[in-house]
Subunit: 479 residues, 2 copies
């Protein structure tokens, strides 16, 4: 939805919360954030002494008057009781094309799940009407959950991949959109004909995305080898060359999700054939020039120490997908272990290996899965509320290469934000001022802000995301 | 809310789904269920050939005419597209008094969590106004999530425990209401003064509950030793005697939640002092006459083989609380292992060790946690969608001793049910006939019923629970 405020400066006033560091949140109250018409945060004022004074302070500081060309929009967004602005979520890994299958996986694990549930659905999206229906829904759905930026896999089909990019741009959701490359170990009805065909289709999609959004501020193409086993060595070689040719482009793929998959990689890519430094999964991508500081590696569950070292040296990033990893019994990724090794980690919903469109659910599951890792003996594995929110915002921003633009509310950043509203109960135990129930976060009134945030992380859903902005543009609002 | 249909017979028509066995759901479509004014299912007809014929069939079979005294209510509840009736959920373990703390537990584990978060809150509910606010909310909240029966722990305070029973009765939610017994290892501000005082307060609460609902069809008292470490041997002795004196009464307590707790039990209750058969946790309850076929044991995570045998021999039941067990890092209960040993298992939200008021969330987490158990090596540990729904309904019914009354839609059972509605998408990718988003379950149209149910289990929330009945009475409806 287009914002009526586009083209004017905006002022946001009230409570703002964002990650200051991995384990600390910054809480600003009685604060004001001024956002320029270009969507940039141009001023942050603390302890304003009320909204009117905030407006005054900011106006005088920025020299912004009240006329139509230089002024603020008349409407000031102000947080009410139990409300705060929070950075938009970054979903660092999801398959837009698999959205209709969320929740459907039975008792399967990765390799049979692909053949039973996933490939037939992805193949069917070459039907443009179906693709439009599915992609429209996934964008609307993820926006409603506060996802301001998503790293999407589409399918091998170029026109519908391009349609996904078109739809993201129109909806105003930042996105990496990847046409999936896979020329082997896939069913005959859903496979690239050759490495050459795969590369040429990829170039076609990249060209389209660059054409619709030349600045790349909202939509960027991403080189997307599905995962090593589904790509021949010649295809991986070509994709590595493409990455070298276009060094600005991000790369996304999967790594070390499932033990059977890891064995398969060892069989398919023995080091003597690839020239890799060893027979590890990470070394395969590295051998083909696909392990770079622009690479997003989904899962990374069963990595060895030396793989983690290699990933850290190459500055590749990890997308942790706890909902998926638990649902299809892949394993419990050791996030603390990755972080301690200096690897950047963000969160991914990984629909439809993951069942939920919500990064908040991924954050919740990241906390719970980290406790299962801790049950294995390492108490330090536990992730706090603060830490999972960091992963969902700043961590994710770094994973997708936007750490200088989004993830916090500091001056110079862009306004990718959500207005979060919690249910504040009255004396009668009902939510004040609302006839109908509005979500599952109940604030009784005696909670600290830290506790309110914890309540949101554990019981929040899309009902608590009241409005969403990307680069200053209002892209979702709950009625 | 009171149903306008109270006192008349009711007809429900359309799709009905319930557990036939642990791993199989029954799907009835074009079916009709007649519910007597007493809330009992008096007829189930399959393949009716439409609603009118269903009404005709049932009327003639039961000899029910259309006049006011013998007839059906005029309104027939009919399922629309993407809707079905499902048995109400049974929450076999939760602390009503801890509801305001859901989501707040930090990185704590059981014993420090109790002291830091739990005891201060519970103690504060001796304020009647606060108790009314909290208890009203927890009943309303759990009903809205489809919980038709809940096994509640209140606090040590008698008046507010009795208030909880009053409120459940008024709201029409079936409940076991337990006044918590604890006379040691608790803070001085929140502890029973003596075993005698604890017993007498318990009797007082039992008397109140029996007085307000003499038939015990909606509210029943439950003997509630908090957990062994919080009870002195004399108190456990007295409670065991009470259980023997009132053999119809259920008993609820905790067992084997946390390794530190298990060690504490060994220290506090050496077998030579209790006469227990060994130094296990289960043997302690058994020694005091508290391990019976009416006993609900929450958690049961770290049981030994011989404890499981003892529990099975005594026919005690287990409440599995996966949200809580993961959240406060207690462990991953082996549900398959319990079931294989012939132990009856139901689900509990265990608020506020658990963060969610939803038994559907507990079912989802039960599936996910079972996958973490499977990751440990035992592939058979995985629980299917069908199995977790069984635990949430029929399993739970058996845990609370209502297996002859609720949990399925067979003749002779009582109508404890929820109307579940999923979002059916139109061609445009929006939910049909609804301006506003309504939940996170998106049905695209090509899903089987099995797949629709899986989607509900993984993405459903209270928005999908459109109406809830207990014993034929409408107790919740979404506007």
């Amino acid at each position: 939805m287009a914002s009526s405020l586009e083209g004017t400066h905006q002022l946001f006033y009230g409570s703002f919360i964002y990650s200051k560091s991995l384990d600390q949140l910054e809480y600003l109250h009685d604060a004001a954030v001024a956002v320029s018409s270009a969507g940039k945060i141009v001023a942050v004022e603390r302890e304003c002494g009320g909204k009117d004074k905030a407006l005054e302070k900011i106006s005088s500081r920025l020299g912004w008057g009240s006329d139509a060309t230089t002024g603020f929009s008349k409407e000031v967004y102000e947080t009410g009781e139990g409300q705060f602005f929070f950075p938009g979520f970054i979903d660092t890994h999801l398959h837009a094309s698999q959205y209709p299958n969320v929740g459907i996986f039975g008792k399967s694990t990765l390799l049979d799940w692909l053949n039973t549930y996933t490939f037939p659905l992805e193949a069917s999206l070459s039907d443009p009407a179906k693709a439009r229906k599915v992609y429209s829904r996934v964008i609307r759905k993820t926006l409603s959950h506060g996802t301001t930026c998503a790293a999407y896999y589409a399918t091998i089909d170029v026109p519908s991949t391009n349609l996904l990019a078109d739809l993201c741009l129109a909806a105003g959701q930042r996105a990496l959109v990847g046409r999936v490359c896979m020329d082997q170990l896939a069913p005959s009805y859903y496979v690239d004909e050759s490495p050459e065909a795969s590369l040429s289709a990829t170039r076609e999609s990249i060209a389209h995305i660059r054409q619709i959004n030349p600045e790349g501020d909202i939509i960027r193409p991403v080189i997307t080898p599905r995962f090593a086993p589904a790509c021949s060595a010649p295809l991986l070689t070509k994709l590595g060359q493409l990455a070298a040719e276009m060094p600005g482009l991000p790369i996304q793929t999967h790594i070390s999700e499932n033990k059977g998959e890891i064995e398969l990689v060892k069989e398919l890519f023995p080091p003597e054939s690839t020239g890799a430094k060893d027979d590890s999964y990470a070394a395969v991508y590295d051998a083909f020039g696909l392990l770079t500081d622009k690479t997003i590696l989904a899962h990374a569950i069963h990595l060895t120490e030396s793989e983690a070292d290699l990933i850290q040296q190459r500055k590749a990033k990890v997308s942790h997908c706890p909902c998926s990893n638990s649902a299809i019994t892949s394993g419990a990724a050791r996030v603390r272990w990755l972080l301690e090794r200096g690897i950047v980690v963000g969160l991914g919903t990984d629909m439809s290996g993951g069942y939920s469109p919500s990064v908040l659910e991924a954050a919740r599951l990241a906390a719970l899965v980290s406790r299962h890792v801790a049950m294995g003996g390492d108490e330090t594995a536990k992730l706090s509320v603060e830490e999972v929110l960091y992963l969902a915002t700043r961590g994710g921003a770094e994973v997708v290469g936007l750490e200088d633009k989004v993830g916090s509310f500091e001056e110079g950043m862009e306004w990718d934000a959500q207005l979060v509203g919690l249910g504040v109960l009255g004396e009668d135990g009902q939510v004040e001022g609302q006839e109908e129930e509005d979500g599952n976060v109940d604030v009784f009134g005696w909670e600290s802000w830290e506790e309110k945030v914890a309540k949101w992380v554990y019981n929040g859903d899309d009902r608590n995301t009241r409005a969403v902005w990307v680069k200053g543009r209002l892209v979702h609002e709950r009625k």
